[in-house]
Symmetry: C2
Subunit: 238 residues, 2 copies
Amino acid sequence: MPMRHAIDPAMLGGVALFQGLPPENLKAVIERADWRRLHKGDAVFRQSDPADTMFVLVTGHVKVHQATADGQQVVIRFINPWEMMGCVAVCGGGSYPGTAEAVEDCGVLAWPRGTLDQLMDRFPRIARNALSTVSHRLQDTQQQLREVATERVERRIAHALMRLAELSGRRGADGGTEIAFPITRKDIADMTGTTLHTVSRTLSGWEAQGLVANARQRITVLQPDALGAIADDWPTAS
Amino acid sequence: MPMRHAIDPAMLGGVALFQGLPPENLKAVIERADWRRLHKGDAVFRQSDPADTMFVLVTGHVKVHQATADGQQVVIRFINPWEMMGCVAVCGGGSYPGTAEAVEDCGVLAWPRGTLDQLMDRFPRIARNALSTVSHRLQDTQQQLREVATERVERRIAHALMRLAELSGRRGADGGTEIAFPITRKDIADMTGTTLHTVSRTLSGWEAQGLVANARQRITVLQPDALGAIADDWPTAS
DNA sequence: CGCGCGATTGACGCCCGTCAACTGGGGTGG
DNA sequence: CCACCCCAGTTGACGGGCGTCAATCGCGCG
């Protein structure tokens, strides 16, 4: 209860789902949310569980991944603070298509599906926002699909790294952009449809050229433009 | 004008976007639609064009594909009668992420974005329906992404064929299920992230085993369960 | 301090993309 | 109505990108 009021309603206005709602409505929305804390490694929701709750991440980072029957794994996306999770499953009905796992200690806001439906009825703006968000995400996913289907591994890794740096980057000490949460080579492999071995080899090569700096579960982009050149196949001028 | 009234409002009730609307509202919706005819090969909309119109296919079949800068191509999906097209682009804003091309002579209903916005305001049910549809489509696309990222070519082709037969199948003379529109080996290659050569080889192999029947721009699935075994990696009992 | 997991790196091989040549059916224009 | 031609499809040969197997290293947490 006290935790709930620690959340600033103004921050919620920055959440895509609630964009454009007047402050008093934001207050109403936030009062119907549950607050949950998660430790690193905990699951926010699990693949195939009935999709009965939508979440907004407040602090920390979350990895959403999908597993195949034979244990292979695909990373759908990483969630940054103030992004939604589970919205697709709740809006589409059925069950969660993937598992959301905290890669750091996290705090989340949770709305049960029934509450969300009521909120959408009271504030139609929310449904329109959700539609816009999901549409954008579909376009992103289709582009990813195109990349995996048509592009070579090296370029896919470059693309993934640039997107991570752009969306979840943090200024590093050496002027580079560090990905702001712990991420393994396997994670990047599962984002790009390759293996951790190939990712490791590729990153090692780039480190030798000074494009990136590698550490355990840490990656820093030092020369985004050179990486962009690989990602978008410009004429490499060196 | 006369063409418009040839459309049965009851049919429109079967369209996911308008599901649950009472008949009189369906009539209102249909009266605000434009009717267009397209010849085989025509484009309903083109990639990068501003997304200002949403469509419902009435007759024929449409292929939605996305091209890369270097001319490579990915087939996003095939549209069956009474399915929506362009809904993601119009709802998400911006421009069409792909080109929709008639693979047969087609008839479509068209709603300009402004009209659609008005309809969504008048009938909030439409926005909810759209949200549900787009959410489902996103889940489908994510699954496709997982397939392309993790599965071998043969299995991806089998999956694509089974989905096509299921969604667009038509009872053939020989008891098989024929895909109901002209489709090339290249199309299947662009759906599965491979080449027309590999598709041709694979289909030839399956034809020799009696799983499918091949013809020019025509494919018939003869043994769906055997194909399903390949797609889902069951123990092949040959 | 020691164990474990993430990361690195080499060797090997094969799936499948690429290049190339050929075939045949059907639509079109004369 | 026929003949041409183009486009979809087939099939073989070749090679390389990258997946797979395996061994080792070393940071960091317990």
